[in-house]
Assembly symmetry: C2
Homo-oligomer: 392 residues x 2
């Protein structure tokens, strides 16, 4: 069925249990869907834009209030909506990093952090992970020392993934930030996998910048996200324009350079806003989400040969597993090769594992119901049994 | 009526004739609305993202084809979708402009061009407008010469608004670009008010970069837009990352630095795609749109004291008028002051003039039907007559 010319209707979320690693936290809430329909037109939130003509000052819809609420909820001083977490990284790197500066990130960092550093002319330096795929404060301290020796100056910024996208491991953010602050290095916490799905307290972590993703974890349309800062850096990253027309003398009020003026002028910001009360509520159920994740992981571990590469027990809903000694053994004999797994899952109403993957892969159980978790766990075990794998 | 918590349902486009200057070209088509509903979830277009894992390579929905079609339609060599035209300006300025470089733009340039220059560390230098609020090739030549003398080097970039946002005047883009190219200055054409509403041929204009806005003129949700380039500059602006993890050796494939990887991963790109066939069709009706605009302007001019500040006859649907000697005279006596005009328009089903404005203001007739144009023209004249202004 087509929804327009050659675009097929997307029914993944209606028809399947979707365990795709990146999509789980970005499914819209019903309220967001209603808001999307009401505000789908281009500049839909600009009907009542009045002086000083900036998105975060608009009262109706209550975008100004939303910005204040977002900052308070994250326990940060200021917040702006941005077109994706990556545009938050870009704004901060562009403001703090000069050409040739070393910038620290971790060996599990998302690629967009490397891009933000590259665009600002910085030089990435990684904190190594330990044997359990965790970033520790000790490793951070050691690397900071080494980088200062190498460059004879202090890195102007450190990127830190609260939960990394590779393993879904929860890192010692507070401990690492404490170390960084001893060297006066401000820290940007990438909360793309945390803000909107689990409780995050920016001040408790010590974050100088806290970035979240609307489409990844705040039940919002893409591209959307939030960049929050402490007061100390707000003036720098959200600096207003000093540009002046040399002939006309034109100036541009309080438009913010790194935001490029307004950012999300329609469906994206309204989607975030409509989901926000639900997002604030759902993070309170994080323990249940983790228990669900653990249940599915344990079902997978009951299949002989299966390993979990993420930390165990699980503390997040995104998990990386190694099934080279289980499902991949089946794949080597199966007439459908590696596709048997995604096929068999799909027959059972489960989607989101990359077709063909039977070696090392990821899945995310966020947002599934108790029943769906049970069904998913049983599906994995049944597929294993049906294909001759031993299960405990 | 609320659509979610404290967000009121937006019904401006359903209930009124909307002549807001910036919203006209961004109203969704029916197909875009259907696509928005089907693809509203966060990372909705990523279901079938396969190697090399980049938005513009996705086959289903046909995003790869859309990119090729966009470039061909604009008669440019390559195209990428971006989160708003401004993010296209930013990408180009960031790639071409070094700190301290002079960058030329016009005295009618949109503020986001100044911001893009500022963020890149450039120094804006304006081409003056002439007495009819037009930018001419002669003025451009003169200013380029002066800037080269001032800085002892050639500006790396010139921004040029195809149609400016202040007057809706159509400038001599081809003539100005011809001049700029004599000095080897590449030109970015800002087509925020042209791409998607009138025919635009990048090669015929001579544009090195052609930028359009999805939410302003391509019937798409915000933030969205297109950045198209000629082959010569594609490799520079769409350069792929050279970042490498210093410990891990990680590299990041063909992710593009200025795009920050993927740009519009959901409803925004699908909205653009669903509207695209209609947008391609509607630009063919541009002459009718201009005739409509002219009819409303002539109705306004029939009201004694009213002046049109935009070029006349009209060549665009965005118009700036001066009613200080007509509606503003009424305002000075009226118990509702300047609000009488927007109030009286609203009573007649017309919205989009900033409440209180009776001096210098703008409106846009794009997309209105023949009947709506007649109604709008009559509304202005009736309001004038009802308030004692002479009409021809």
């Amino acid at each position: 069925m087509k929804c327009a010319s050659d675009i097929e209707v997307r029914d993944v979320e209606e028809m399947y249990i979707n365990i795709d690693p990146i999509q789980a936290g970005g499914r819209l809430t019903a309220d967001a869907m209603k808001a999307v329909i009401a505000y789908a037109d281009g500049y839909s939130v600009c009907d009542n834009c009045r002086k000083p003509f900036r998105l975060d000052y608009i009262q109706k819809p209550p975008i100004a209030q939303f910005h204040a609420d977002l900052a308070r909820w994250l326990n940060m001083d200021t917040a702006r909506v941005v077109p994706g977490a990556r545009r938050g990284f870009q704004a901060v790197a562009s403001s703090l990093v000069e050409r040739g500066d070393p910038v620290i990130l971790t060996s599990l960092a998302h690629y967009t952090e490397y891009l933000a550093i590259e665009e600002a002319g910085g030089v990435p330096r990684e904190i190594p992970k330990d044997g359990s795929n965790r970033i520790t404060a000790d490793a951070a301290a050691e690397r900071i020392e080494a980088v200062i020796r190498e460059f004879s100056r202090t890195p102007p910024l450190l990127f830190l993934d609260h939960v990394d996208y590779q393993y879904g491991n929860v890192h010692d953010v507070a401990g690492i930030i404490k170390v960084a602050h001893q060297y006066d290095i401000p820290v940007l916490v990438n909360g793309a996998y945390t803000v909107g799905i689990m409780p995050v307290d920016g001040k408790a972590l010590g974050a100088d910048f806290l970035v979240g993703s609307g489409h990844k974890s705040m039940a919002a349309p893409a591209p959307s996200g939030v960049l929050a800062t402490v007061e100390e850096y707000a003036g720098k990253v959200f600096r207003t324009t000093e540009a002046r027309g040399d002939l006309t003398g034109r100036t541009f009020g309080i438009k913010e350079v790194e935001m490029m003026g307004c950012t999300l002028m329609g469906v994206t910001v309204v989607g975030m806003m409509a989901s926000f009360p639900h997002v604030q509520e759902r993070v309170k159920g994080w323990e249940t989400e983790v228990a669900h994740s653990q249940a599915v992981v344990d079902a997978l571990l009951s299949i002989e040969g299966t390993k979990v590469l993420s930390e165990y027990p699980r503390r997040h809903t995104l998990t990386r597993v190694d099934t080279r000694e289980s499902f991949d053994r089946v794949a080597q004999q199966h007439k459908k090769k590696g596709y048997f797994l995604s096929n068999d899952l799909k027959k059972r109403g489960v989607i989101g594992v990359i077709p063909g993957s039977t070696r090392v892969w990821k899945f995310n159980t966020f947002g599934l119901t108790e029943n769906q978790i049970r069904h998913l766990s049983e599906a994995f075990v049944e597929i294993a049994r049906d294909n001759g794998l031993n299960c405990l």
